[in-house]
Symmetry: C2
Subunit: 318 residues, 2 copies
Protein backbone atom coordinates (compact mmCIF):
# COMPACT_ATOMS: atom_id res chain seq x y z
CA UNK A 1 0.00 0.00 0.00
CA UNK A 2 2.42 2.67 1.22
CA UNK A 3 1.57 6.22 2.08
CA UNK A 4 3.18 9.46 0.99
CA UNK A 5 2.98 11.01 4.44
CA UNK A 6 6.33 10.87 6.22
CA UNK A 7 6.66 11.01 10.01
CA UNK A 8 9.32 11.99 12.53
CA UNK A 9 9.37 10.37 15.96
CA UNK A 10 10.17 12.73 18.83
CA UNK A 11 11.53 11.41 22.13
CA UNK A 12 12.03 13.57 25.22
CA UNK A 13 14.09 11.80 27.87
CA UNK A 14 13.46 13.62 31.12
CA UNK A 15 14.56 12.93 34.68
CA UNK A 16 10.93 12.25 35.59
CA UNK A 17 9.19 11.16 32.38
CA UNK A 18 9.86 9.88 28.91
CA UNK A 19 7.59 11.50 26.34
CA UNK A 20 7.08 10.20 22.79
CA UNK A 21 5.04 11.37 19.82
CA UNK A 22 5.00 11.49 16.03
CA UNK A 23 4.84 14.62 13.94
CA UNK A 24 4.52 14.90 10.15
CA UNK A 25 7.82 15.85 8.47
CA UNK A 26 6.16 19.00 7.11
CA UNK A 27 4.91 19.94 10.60
CA UNK A 28 1.49 19.63 12.20
CA UNK A 29 -0.27 18.08 15.16
CA UNK A 30 1.67 15.70 17.38
CA UNK A 31 0.14 12.22 17.16
CA UNK A 32 0.19 9.15 19.39
CA UNK A 33 1.61 11.37 22.09
CA UNK A 34 2.16 9.70 25.44
CA UNK A 35 4.26 9.90 28.57
CA UNK A 36 5.58 7.30 31.00
CA UNK A 37 7.78 7.57 34.09
CA UNK A 38 11.48 7.33 33.26
CA UNK A 39 12.28 5.21 36.33
CA UNK A 40 15.97 5.91 35.81
CA UNK A 41 16.81 4.04 39.00
CA UNK A 42 15.97 0.77 37.23
CA UNK A 43 19.03 1.29 35.06
CA UNK A 44 19.95 2.57 31.63
CA UNK A 45 18.97 -0.67 29.83
CA UNK A 46 15.51 -0.43 31.32
CA UNK A 47 15.12 3.18 30.17
CA UNK A 48 16.27 2.34 26.64
CA UNK A 49 13.85 -0.59 26.48
CA UNK A 50 11.04 1.65 27.71
CA UNK A 51 11.84 4.28 25.07
CA UNK A 52 11.94 1.65 22.31
CA UNK A 53 8.63 0.17 23.45
CA UNK A 54 7.01 3.62 23.57
CA UNK A 55 8.28 4.49 20.10
CA UNK A 56 7.02 1.19 18.66
CA UNK A 57 3.65 1.83 20.26
CA UNK A 58 3.40 5.35 18.78
CA UNK A 59 4.48 4.19 15.33
CA UNK A 60 1.99 1.30 15.35
CA UNK A 61 -0.82 3.64 16.46
CA UNK A 62 -0.17 6.23 13.76
CA UNK A 63 0.33 3.73 10.95
CA UNK A 64 -2.89 1.96 11.97
CA UNK A 65 -4.85 5.22 12.01
CA UNK A 66 -3.24 6.84 8.95
CA UNK A 67 -2.20 3.88 6.86
CA UNK A 68 1.32 3.58 5.51
CA UNK A 69 4.27 1.40 6.34
CA UNK A 70 7.37 1.59 8.47
CA UNK A 71 9.14 3.08 5.43
CA UNK A 72 7.12 6.22 6.14
CA UNK A 73 9.00 6.78 9.41
CA UNK A 74 11.82 9.18 8.48
CA UNK A 75 13.70 8.85 11.74
CA UNK A 76 13.85 9.48 15.48
CA UNK A 77 14.87 12.74 17.16
CA UNK A 78 15.96 12.28 20.76
CA UNK A 79 16.17 15.12 23.27
CA UNK A 80 18.24 14.37 26.34
CA UNK A 81 19.72 16.34 29.22
CA UNK A 82 23.29 17.31 28.40
CA UNK A 83 26.18 17.62 28.08
CA UNK A 84 26.27 15.32 25.09
CA UNK A 85 28.20 14.77 21.88
CA UNK A 86 26.00 15.07 18.83
CA UNK A 87 28.57 13.60 16.45
CA UNK A 88 28.79 10.29 18.33
CA UNK A 89 25.30 10.37 19.83
CA UNK A 90 26.73 9.86 23.31
CA UNK A 91 25.28 11.38 26.48
CA UNK A 92 28.38 12.51 28.37
CA UNK A 93 26.97 13.09 31.83
CA UNK A 94 23.45 13.49 33.22
CA UNK A 95 23.29 13.42 37.02
CA UNK A 96 19.46 13.16 36.94
CA UNK A 97 19.61 9.91 34.97
CA UNK A 98 22.92 8.65 36.35
CA UNK A 99 24.43 8.20 32.88
CA UNK A 100 28.04 8.75 31.88
CA UNK A 101 29.30 8.39 28.30
CA UNK A 102 26.16 6.50 27.41
CA UNK A 103 25.63 5.77 23.66
CA UNK A 104 21.91 6.54 23.82
CA UNK A 105 21.40 7.39 20.15
CA UNK A 106 22.87 4.20 18.69
CA UNK A 107 21.20 1.92 21.24
CA UNK A 108 17.83 3.35 20.23
CA UNK A 109 18.60 3.43 16.49
CA UNK A 110 19.81 -0.17 16.50
CA UNK A 111 16.85 -1.47 18.49
CA UNK A 112 14.38 0.31 16.20
CA UNK A 113 16.26 -0.13 12.91
CA UNK A 114 15.62 3.55 12.28
CA UNK A 115 17.98 6.49 11.83
CA UNK A 116 18.22 8.63 14.96
CA UNK A 117 19.75 11.94 16.07
CA UNK A 118 20.51 13.20 19.55
CA UNK A 119 20.45 16.76 20.84
CA UNK A 120 20.13 18.65 24.08
CA UNK A 121 16.53 18.67 25.38
CA UNK A 122 16.40 22.46 25.78
CA UNK A 123 17.73 22.87 22.24
CA UNK A 124 14.97 20.55 20.97
CA UNK A 125 12.29 22.44 22.91
CA UNK A 126 13.52 25.76 21.53
CA UNK A 127 13.71 24.48 17.99
CA UNK A 128 10.17 23.15 18.37
CA UNK A 129 8.96 26.59 19.41
CA UNK A 130 10.71 28.06 16.37
CA UNK A 131 9.39 25.37 14.01
CA UNK A 132 5.77 25.00 15.14
CA UNK A 133 5.28 27.07 18.27
CA UNK A 134 5.50 30.60 19.66
CA UNK A 135 8.33 31.76 17.44
CA UNK A 136 7.45 30.37 14.04
CA UNK A 137 10.09 31.33 11.51
CA UNK A 138 11.47 34.11 13.72
CA UNK A 139 14.80 35.64 12.63
CA UNK A 140 16.27 34.44 15.92
CA UNK A 141 14.88 32.96 19.08
CA UNK A 142 16.22 32.11 22.52
CA UNK A 143 14.34 29.64 24.69
CA UNK A 144 14.43 29.46 28.48
CA UNK A 145 13.23 26.10 29.81
CA UNK A 146 12.36 26.40 33.48
CA UNK A 147 12.15 23.24 35.52
CA UNK A 148 14.31 21.40 38.03
CA UNK A 149 17.11 23.31 36.35
CA UNK A 150 17.11 26.14 33.83
CA UNK A 151 18.09 25.15 30.32
CA UNK A 152 18.27 27.15 27.18
CA UNK A 153 18.40 26.92 23.43
CA UNK A 154 19.37 29.33 20.67
CA UNK A 155 17.95 29.25 17.14
CA UNK A 156 19.67 31.47 14.57
CA UNK A 157 18.96 31.47 10.85
CA UNK A 158 16.53 28.61 11.29
CA UNK A 159 19.08 26.31 12.93
CA UNK A 160 19.99 25.39 16.48
CA UNK A 161 23.20 27.18 17.40
CA UNK A 162 25.37 24.61 19.21
CA UNK A 163 28.67 26.41 19.81
CA UNK A 164 32.09 24.95 19.22
CA UNK A 165 31.57 21.88 21.45
CA UNK A 166 27.78 21.44 21.66
CA UNK A 167 27.70 23.40 24.93
CA UNK A 168 25.94 26.63 23.89
CA UNK A 169 22.73 27.73 25.59
CA UNK A 170 23.66 27.02 29.22
CA UNK A 171 21.79 30.14 30.24
CA UNK A 172 20.86 28.74 33.65
CA UNK A 173 24.47 29.13 34.69
CA UNK A 174 24.88 32.73 33.66
CA UNK A 175 25.86 34.78 36.70
CA UNK A 176 23.35 37.46 37.63
CA UNK A 177 24.83 38.17 41.05
CA UNK A 178 28.54 37.47 41.20
CA UNK A 179 28.63 37.06 44.99
CA UNK A 180 25.13 35.63 45.28
CA UNK A 181 23.44 32.34 46.13
CA UNK A 182 25.35 29.11 45.75
CA UNK A 183 24.27 27.01 42.77
CA UNK A 184 24.26 23.21 42.49
CA UNK A 185 27.03 23.61 39.91
CA UNK A 186 29.35 24.92 42.62
CA UNK A 187 29.39 28.55 41.49
CA UNK A 188 27.69 31.57 42.97
CA UNK A 189 24.89 33.71 41.62
CA UNK A 190 23.75 31.55 38.67
CA UNK A 191 20.25 32.35 37.37
CA UNK A 192 19.29 28.73 38.14
CA UNK A 193 20.03 29.33 41.83
CA UNK A 194 17.19 31.89 41.88
CA UNK A 195 14.57 30.91 39.37
CA UNK A 196 14.53 27.12 38.91
CA UNK A 197 11.57 25.29 40.44
CA UNK A 198 13.53 24.14 43.53
CA UNK A 199 15.11 27.63 43.91
CA UNK A 200 11.68 29.29 43.89
CA UNK A 201 10.51 26.84 46.57
CA UNK A 202 13.67 27.37 48.63
CA UNK A 203 13.33 31.16 48.56
CA UNK A 204 9.70 30.80 49.63
CA UNK A 205 10.64 28.54 52.52
CA UNK A 206 13.45 30.83 53.68
CA UNK A 207 10.99 33.72 53.99
CA UNK A 208 8.53 31.64 55.98
CA UNK A 209 11.30 30.54 58.32
CA UNK A 210 12.16 34.21 58.73
CA UNK A 211 8.61 34.92 59.88
CA UNK A 212 6.50 35.68 56.80
CA UNK A 213 2.79 34.90 57.11
CA UNK A 214 1.33 33.04 54.14
CA UNK A 215 -1.25 30.42 53.18
CA UNK A 216 1.67 28.38 51.81
CA UNK A 217 2.02 26.90 55.31
CA UNK A 218 -1.60 25.70 55.24
CA UNK A 219 -1.32 24.39 51.68
CA UNK A 220 1.38 21.96 52.81
CA UNK A 221 -0.19 21.33 56.22
CA UNK A 222 2.80 22.87 57.96
CA UNK A 223 5.30 20.59 56.25
CA UNK A 224 7.48 23.30 54.69
CA UNK A 225 9.67 20.82 52.83
CA UNK A 226 6.67 19.90 50.71
CA UNK A 227 6.52 23.40 49.22
CA UNK A 228 7.28 23.38 45.50
CA UNK A 229 7.11 26.06 42.83
CA UNK A 230 3.64 24.70 42.02
CA UNK A 231 2.55 25.36 45.62
CA UNK A 232 3.81 28.93 45.32
CA UNK A 233 1.85 29.31 42.09
CA UNK A 234 -1.30 27.98 43.76
CA UNK A 235 -0.92 30.47 46.61
CA UNK A 236 -0.43 33.31 44.10
CA UNK A 237 -3.66 32.36 42.33
CA UNK A 238 -5.43 32.44 45.72
CA UNK A 239 -4.20 36.01 46.23
CA UNK A 240 -1.54 35.33 48.87
CA UNK A 241 0.58 38.46 49.35
CA UNK A 242 3.80 36.73 50.32
CA UNK A 243 3.64 34.16 47.51
CA UNK A 244 3.01 37.04 45.10
CA UNK A 245 6.20 38.68 46.37
CA UNK A 246 8.12 35.44 45.78
CA UNK A 247 6.73 35.30 42.24
CA UNK A 248 7.66 38.95 41.63
CA UNK A 249 11.20 38.29 42.81
CA UNK A 250 11.32 35.29 40.47
CA UNK A 251 10.26 37.59 37.63
CA UNK A 252 13.01 40.06 38.54
CA UNK A 253 15.71 37.40 38.47
CA UNK A 254 14.41 35.93 35.24
CA UNK A 255 14.02 39.40 33.76
CA UNK A 256 17.66 40.12 34.52
CA UNK A 257 18.72 36.95 32.73
CA UNK A 258 16.48 37.71 29.76
CA UNK A 259 17.79 41.29 29.52
CA UNK A 260 21.31 39.85 29.43
CA UNK A 261 20.34 37.57 26.56
CA UNK A 262 18.76 40.50 24.71
CA UNK A 263 21.87 42.66 25.26
CA UNK A 264 24.11 39.88 23.98
CA UNK A 265 22.07 38.30 21.19
CA UNK A 266 19.33 40.81 20.27
CA UNK A 267 17.00 37.94 19.30
CA UNK A 268 13.64 38.57 17.69
CA UNK A 269 11.96 36.61 20.43
CA UNK A 270 12.51 35.03 23.84
CA UNK A 271 10.27 32.06 24.64
CA UNK A 272 9.76 30.89 28.21
CA UNK A 273 8.82 27.23 28.70
CA UNK A 274 8.01 25.12 31.72
CA UNK A 275 5.46 24.80 34.48
CA UNK A 276 6.14 28.23 35.91
CA UNK A 277 4.57 29.79 32.79
CA UNK A 278 1.20 28.63 34.15
CA UNK A 279 1.47 31.63 36.49
CA UNK A 280 0.60 33.70 33.41
CA UNK A 281 0.43 37.44 34.01
CA UNK A 282 1.46 36.93 37.63
CA UNK A 283 4.84 36.09 36.13
CA UNK A 284 4.91 37.78 32.73
CA UNK A 285 3.80 41.23 33.84
CA UNK A 286 6.64 41.85 36.33
CA UNK A 287 8.97 39.89 34.03
CA UNK A 288 8.42 42.22 31.08
CA UNK A 289 8.68 45.24 33.39
CA UNK A 290 12.10 44.08 34.58
CA UNK A 291 13.29 43.41 31.03
CA UNK A 292 12.13 46.88 29.98
CA UNK A 293 13.84 48.42 33.00
CA UNK A 294 17.15 46.80 32.10
CA UNK A 295 16.88 46.98 28.33
CA UNK A 296 14.52 49.50 26.82
CA UNK A 297 13.83 47.67 23.60
CA UNK A 298 10.56 46.24 22.45
CA UNK A 299 11.79 42.68 22.22
CA UNK A 300 9.12 40.07 22.54
CA UNK A 301 9.12 37.81 25.59
CA UNK A 302 6.42 35.18 25.30
CA UNK A 303 5.36 31.88 26.85
CA UNK A 304 5.70 28.63 24.95
CA UNK A 305 2.92 27.66 22.54
CA UNK A 306 3.37 23.97 22.01
CA UNK A 307 0.33 22.66 23.83
CA UNK A 308 1.60 19.20 24.48
CA UNK A 309 4.62 20.56 26.25
CA UNK A 310 2.32 22.79 28.27
CA UNK A 311 0.18 19.85 29.27
CA UNK A 312 3.23 18.05 30.55
CA UNK A 313 4.92 20.99 32.13
CA UNK A 314 3.59 20.07 35.56
CA UNK A 315 6.08 17.23 35.68
CA UNK A 316 8.94 19.60 35.16
CA UNK A 317 8.15 22.21 37.71
CA UNK A 318 10.24 20.37 40.28
CA UNK B 1 48.77 51.66 -15.72
CA UNK B 2 46.46 49.98 -13.22
CA UNK B 3 47.34 47.39 -10.66
CA UNK B 4 45.69 44.10 -9.80
CA UNK B 5 46.02 44.65 -6.08
CA UNK B 6 42.72 45.75 -4.55
CA UNK B 7 42.49 47.68 -1.27
CA UNK B 8 39.91 48.24 1.44
CA UNK B 9 39.94 51.47 3.44
CA UNK B 10 39.23 51.04 7.15
CA UNK B 11 37.94 53.96 9.23
CA UNK B 12 37.53 53.82 13.02
CA UNK B 13 35.52 56.76 14.33
CA UNK B 14 36.24 57.00 18.04
CA UNK B 15 35.21 59.50 20.67
CA UNK B 16 38.87 60.54 20.99
CA UNK B 17 40.54 59.69 17.67
CA UNK B 18 39.77 58.90 14.06
CA UNK B 19 42.00 56.13 12.73
CA UNK B 20 42.40 55.30 9.04
CA UNK B 21 44.38 52.69 7.13
CA UNK B 22 44.31 50.53 4.00
CA UNK B 23 44.45 46.75 3.92
CA UNK B 24 44.66 44.45 0.89
CA UNK B 25 41.35 42.79 0.07
CA UNK B 26 42.98 39.39 0.59
CA UNK B 27 44.32 40.47 3.99
CA UNK B 28 47.78 41.54 5.11
CA UNK B 29 49.61 44.46 6.72
CA UNK B 30 47.72 47.68 7.34
CA UNK B 31 49.22 50.48 5.22
CA UNK B 32 49.20 54.27 5.45
CA UNK B 33 47.87 53.87 8.95
CA UNK B 34 47.38 57.10 10.87
CA UNK B 35 45.36 58.64 13.66
CA UNK B 36 44.09 62.17 14.33
CA UNK B 37 41.97 63.63 17.11
CA UNK B 38 38.23 63.42 16.39
CA UNK B 39 37.50 66.87 17.85
CA UNK B 40 33.81 66.03 17.86
CA UNK B 41 33.03 69.33 19.57
CA UNK B 42 33.79 71.11 16.29
CA UNK B 43 30.69 69.53 14.82
CA UNK B 44 29.70 66.61 12.64
CA UNK B 45 30.62 68.34 9.36
CA UNK B 46 34.13 68.93 10.66
CA UNK B 47 34.50 65.26 11.63
CA UNK B 48 33.27 64.06 8.24
CA UNK B 49 35.67 66.43 6.44
CA UNK B 50 38.51 65.19 8.63
CA UNK B 51 37.66 61.55 7.85
CA UNK B 52 37.48 62.27 4.11
CA UNK B 53 40.81 64.11 4.19
CA UNK B 54 42.48 61.26 6.11
CA UNK B 55 41.10 58.65 3.71
CA UNK B 56 42.31 60.62 0.67
CA UNK B 57 45.73 60.93 2.28
CA UNK B 58 45.96 57.18 2.95
CA UNK B 59 44.78 56.28 -0.55
CA UNK B 60 47.28 58.70 -2.16
CA UNK B 61 50.11 57.30 -0.04
CA UNK B 62 49.41 53.67 -0.88
CA UNK B 63 48.82 54.25 -4.59
CA UNK B 64 52.06 56.26 -4.78
CA UNK B 65 54.04 53.49 -3.03
CA UNK B 66 52.36 50.51 -4.66
CA UNK B 67 51.26 51.87 -8.01
CA UNK B 68 47.69 51.43 -9.17
CA UNK B 69 44.73 53.75 -9.62
CA UNK B 70 41.68 54.78 -7.66
CA UNK B 71 39.87 51.90 -9.35
CA UNK B 72 41.93 49.61 -7.11
CA UNK B 73 40.12 50.93 -4.02
CA UNK B 74 37.30 48.44 -3.44
CA UNK B 75 35.51 50.52 -0.83
CA UNK B 76 35.45 51.99 2.65
CA UNK B 77 34.47 50.18 5.85
CA UNK B 78 33.48 52.51 8.67
CA UNK B 79 33.36 51.49 12.31
CA UNK B 80 31.36 53.82 14.54
CA UNK B 81 29.96 53.72 18.05
CA UNK B 82 26.38 52.48 17.98
CA UNK B 83 23.48 52.11 17.94
CA UNK B 84 23.30 52.41 14.19
CA UNK B 85 21.28 51.16 11.23
CA UNK B 86 23.42 49.23 8.78
CA UNK B 87 20.77 49.20 6.06
CA UNK B 88 20.59 52.99 5.85
CA UNK B 89 24.12 53.72 7.07
CA UNK B 90 22.77 56.04 9.75
CA UNK B 91 24.30 56.46 13.21
CA UNK B 92 21.26 56.56 15.48
CA UNK B 93 22.74 57.93 18.68
CA UNK B 94 26.32 58.32 19.97
CA UNK B 95 26.57 60.42 23.11
CA UNK B 96 30.38 60.57 22.82
CA UNK B 97 30.17 62.25 19.42
CA UNK B 98 26.91 64.08 19.98
CA UNK B 99 25.31 62.60 16.87
CA UNK B 100 21.67 61.62 16.40
CA UNK B 101 20.31 60.00 13.24
CA UNK B 102 23.42 61.07 11.37
CA UNK B 103 23.85 59.65 7.81
CA UNK B 104 27.58 59.06 8.27
CA UNK B 105 28.00 56.37 5.63
CA UNK B 106 26.47 58.26 2.71
CA UNK B 107 28.20 61.55 3.58
CA UNK B 108 31.56 59.77 3.43
CA UNK B 109 30.68 57.69 0.35
CA UNK B 110 29.46 60.73 -1.57
CA UNK B 111 32.46 62.87 -0.68
CA UNK B 112 34.88 60.10 -1.69
CA UNK B 113 32.93 58.72 -4.66
CA UNK B 114 33.57 55.27 -3.20
CA UNK B 115 31.21 52.57 -1.92
CA UNK B 116 31.05 52.48 1.87
CA UNK B 117 29.58 50.32 4.62
CA UNK B 118 28.92 51.15 8.24
CA UNK B 119 29.03 48.83 11.25
CA UNK B 120 29.44 49.02 15.00
CA UNK B 121 33.08 49.67 16.01
CA UNK B 122 33.25 46.70 18.39
CA UNK B 123 31.83 44.44 15.66
CA UNK B 124 34.54 45.67 13.27
CA UNK B 125 37.28 45.12 15.85
CA UNK B 126 36.03 41.60 16.54
CA UNK B 127 35.74 40.75 12.85
CA UNK B 128 39.29 42.05 12.36
CA UNK B 129 40.55 39.71 15.07
CA UNK B 130 38.72 36.84 13.37
CA UNK B 131 39.96 37.80 9.89
CA UNK B 132 43.61 38.71 10.54
CA UNK B 133 44.19 38.67 14.30
CA UNK B 134 44.04 36.46 17.37
CA UNK B 135 41.16 34.30 16.21
CA UNK B 136 41.93 33.63 12.58
CA UNK B 137 39.22 31.48 11.06
CA UNK B 138 37.94 30.34 14.46
CA UNK B 139 34.60 28.48 14.45
CA UNK B 140 33.20 31.28 16.60
CA UNK B 141 34.66 34.23 18.41
CA UNK B 142 33.39 36.82 20.87
CA UNK B 143 35.32 40.06 21.30
CA UNK B 144 35.32 42.27 24.39
CA UNK B 145 36.53 45.80 23.65
CA UNK B 146 37.51 47.53 26.87
CA UNK B 147 37.75 51.31 26.84
CA UNK B 148 35.63 54.23 28.00
CA UNK B 149 32.81 51.73 27.70
CA UNK B 150 32.76 47.99 27.15
CA UNK B 151 31.68 46.92 23.68
CA UNK B 152 31.42 43.52 22.16
CA UNK B 153 31.22 41.69 18.89
CA UNK B 154 30.18 38.17 17.90
CA UNK B 155 31.52 36.33 14.86
CA UNK B 156 29.74 33.08 13.95
CA UNK B 157 30.33 31.06 10.80
CA UNK B 158 32.78 33.69 9.57
CA UNK B 159 30.25 36.52 9.76
CA UNK B 160 29.44 39.22 12.26
CA UNK B 161 26.25 38.24 14.09
CA UNK B 162 24.10 41.39 14.27
CA UNK B 163 20.85 40.24 15.85
CA UNK B 164 17.41 41.18 14.64
CA UNK B 165 17.96 44.96 14.82
CA UNK B 166 21.77 45.42 14.66
CA UNK B 167 21.93 45.55 18.47
CA UNK B 168 23.68 42.25 19.31
CA UNK B 169 26.94 42.21 21.24
CA UNK B 170 26.10 44.78 23.93
CA UNK B 171 28.03 42.71 26.43
CA UNK B 172 29.03 45.73 28.50
CA UNK B 173 25.45 45.99 29.68
CA UNK B 174 25.06 42.42 30.78
CA UNK B 175 24.17 42.36 34.48
CA UNK B 176 26.72 40.58 36.66
CA UNK B 177 25.35 41.87 39.95
CA UNK B 178 21.63 42.55 39.79
CA UNK B 179 21.63 44.96 42.73
CA UNK B 180 25.14 46.30 42.13
CA UNK B 181 26.82 49.53 41.00
CA UNK B 182 24.87 52.04 38.98
CA UNK B 183 25.85 52.15 35.31
CA UNK B 184 25.83 55.20 33.00
CA UNK B 185 22.99 53.47 31.14
CA UNK B 186 20.77 53.86 34.19
CA UNK B 187 20.72 50.21 35.22
CA UNK B 188 22.48 48.47 38.05
CA UNK B 189 25.28 45.95 38.00
CA UNK B 190 26.30 46.13 34.32
CA UNK B 191 29.77 44.72 33.56
CA UNK B 192 30.72 48.17 32.22
CA UNK B 193 30.09 49.69 35.66
CA UNK B 194 32.93 47.54 37.03
CA UNK B 195 35.50 46.98 34.29
CA UNK B 196 35.48 49.90 31.86
CA UNK B 197 38.47 52.26 32.08
CA UNK B 198 36.58 54.91 34.09
CA UNK B 199 35.05 52.21 36.33
CA UNK B 200 38.49 50.78 37.13
CA UNK B 201 39.70 54.28 38.02
CA UNK B 202 36.60 54.97 40.11
CA UNK B 203 36.98 51.76 42.09
CA UNK B 204 40.64 52.61 42.71
CA UNK B 205 39.76 56.12 43.93
CA UNK B 206 36.99 54.82 46.23
CA UNK B 207 39.49 52.55 47.97
CA UNK B 208 41.98 55.37 48.45
CA UNK B 209 39.27 57.57 49.88
CA UNK B 210 38.45 54.72 52.24
CA UNK B 211 42.02 54.75 53.51
CA UNK B 212 44.07 52.41 51.27
CA UNK B 213 47.78 53.20 51.01
CA UNK B 214 49.14 53.14 47.47
CA UNK B 215 51.67 54.79 45.17
CA UNK B 216 48.69 55.77 43.00
CA UNK B 217 48.42 58.92 45.13
CA UNK B 218 52.03 59.87 44.32
CA UNK B 219 51.64 59.03 40.65
CA UNK B 220 48.94 61.69 40.32
CA UNK B 221 50.61 64.07 42.81
CA UNK B 222 47.69 63.76 45.18
CA UNK B 223 45.12 64.75 42.57
CA UNK B 224 42.92 61.63 42.79
CA UNK B 225 40.66 62.74 39.95
CA UNK B 226 43.60 62.32 37.59
CA UNK B 227 43.73 58.58 38.25
CA UNK B 228 42.87 56.57 35.13
CA UNK B 229 43.00 52.87 34.36
CA UNK B 230 46.44 53.56 32.84
CA UNK B 231 47.63 54.93 36.18
CA UNK B 232 46.38 51.79 37.91
CA UNK B 233 48.25 49.69 35.35
CA UNK B 234 51.44 51.71 35.94
CA UNK B 235 51.15 51.15 39.70
CA UNK B 236 50.62 47.41 39.16
CA UNK B 237 53.80 47.21 37.07
CA UNK B 238 55.66 48.97 39.89
CA UNK B 239 54.46 46.29 42.29
CA UNK B 240 51.89 48.30 44.23
CA UNK B 241 49.80 45.96 46.40
CA UNK B 242 46.59 47.97 46.34
CA UNK B 243 46.65 48.59 42.58
CA UNK B 244 47.25 44.86 42.12
CA UNK B 245 44.11 44.21 44.17
CA UNK B 246 42.14 46.61 41.97
CA UNK B 247 43.44 44.79 38.88
CA UNK B 248 42.53 41.41 40.38
CA UNK B 249 39.00 42.64 41.12
CA UNK B 250 38.80 43.86 37.52
CA UNK B 251 39.81 40.40 36.36
CA UNK B 252 37.12 38.85 38.54
CA UNK B 253 34.38 41.05 37.12
CA UNK B 254 35.58 40.52 33.56
CA UNK B 255 35.97 36.79 34.19
CA UNK B 256 32.34 36.63 35.34
CA UNK B 257 31.23 38.33 32.12
CA UNK B 258 33.39 36.06 30.00
CA UNK B 259 32.11 32.94 31.78
CA UNK B 260 28.56 34.13 31.02
CA UNK B 261 29.43 34.46 27.35
CA UNK B 262 30.99 30.98 27.34
CA UNK B 263 27.92 29.50 29.06
CA UNK B 264 25.61 31.15 26.56
CA UNK B 265 27.56 30.93 23.29
CA UNK B 266 30.31 28.33 23.81
CA UNK B 267 32.59 30.18 21.35
CA UNK B 268 35.91 28.75 20.26
CA UNK B 269 37.64 31.87 21.45
CA UNK B 270 37.17 35.06 23.46
CA UNK B 271 39.40 37.97 22.45
CA UNK B 272 39.99 40.89 24.82
CA UNK B 273 40.92 44.23 23.21
CA UNK B 274 41.79 47.63 24.57
CA UNK B 275 44.43 49.37 26.63
CA UNK B 276 43.79 47.26 29.71
CA UNK B 277 45.28 44.24 27.91
CA UNK B 278 48.69 45.94 28.33
CA UNK B 279 48.50 44.70 31.92
CA UNK B 280 49.29 41.27 30.43
CA UNK B 281 49.52 38.48 32.98
CA UNK B 282 48.56 40.87 35.77
CA UNK B 283 45.14 40.79 34.14
CA UNK B 284 44.99 37.52 32.21
CA UNK B 285 46.17 35.21 34.98
CA UNK B 286 43.41 36.07 37.48
CA UNK B 287 40.99 36.48 34.55
CA UNK B 288 41.50 32.92 33.33
CA UNK B 289 41.32 31.66 36.92
CA UNK B 290 37.92 33.30 37.38
CA UNK B 291 36.64 31.94 34.07
CA UNK B 292 37.78 28.43 35.05
CA UNK B 293 36.18 28.82 38.48
CA UNK B 294 32.83 29.71 36.93
CA UNK B 295 33.00 27.50 33.84
CA UNK B 296 35.33 24.54 33.90
CA UNK B 297 35.90 24.34 30.19
CA UNK B 298 39.14 24.87 28.37
CA UNK B 299 37.88 27.74 26.26
CA UNK B 300 40.55 30.09 25.03
CA UNK B 301 40.61 33.65 26.35
CA UNK B 302 43.29 35.68 24.60
CA UNK B 303 44.37 39.29 24.10
CA UNK B 304 43.94 40.98 20.73
CA UNK B 305 46.68 40.47 18.13
CA UNK B 306 46.19 43.29 15.69
CA UNK B 307 49.25 45.36 16.46
CA UNK B 308 47.96 48.62 15.14
CA UNK B 309 44.99 48.49 17.44
CA UNK B 310 47.30 47.68 20.31
CA UNK B 311 49.48 50.68 19.52
CA UNK B 312 46.43 52.92 19.66
CA UNK B 313 44.80 51.35 22.63
CA UNK B 314 46.23 53.95 24.99
CA UNK B 315 43.75 56.43 23.60
CA UNK B 316 40.88 54.21 24.45
CA UNK B 317 41.71 53.37 28.01
CA UNK B 318 39.67 56.36 29.20
Amino acid sequence: MGNEKQWIVGVDVGGTNVVVGLVPVEGGEVRAFHSRPTEAKRGADFVVARIVEMVEHSIATVLREEGGTRADIAGVGIGSPGPLDRATGVVINTPNLGWRNFPLRDLIANALHLPATLDNDANCATYGEWWLGAGRQAHSLVGFTLGTGIGGGIVLNGEIYHGVSDAAGEIGHMTIDSTGRKCNCGNYGCLEAYASGPAIALRAIEGIEAGETTILVDLVKGNLESITAATVYEAVVRGDTYATEVMKDTAKFLGTGIANIINILNPEMVVISGGVTRAGDHLFEPLRAEVRRRRDRDDRVVPEHLRHRQRLSRHRLG
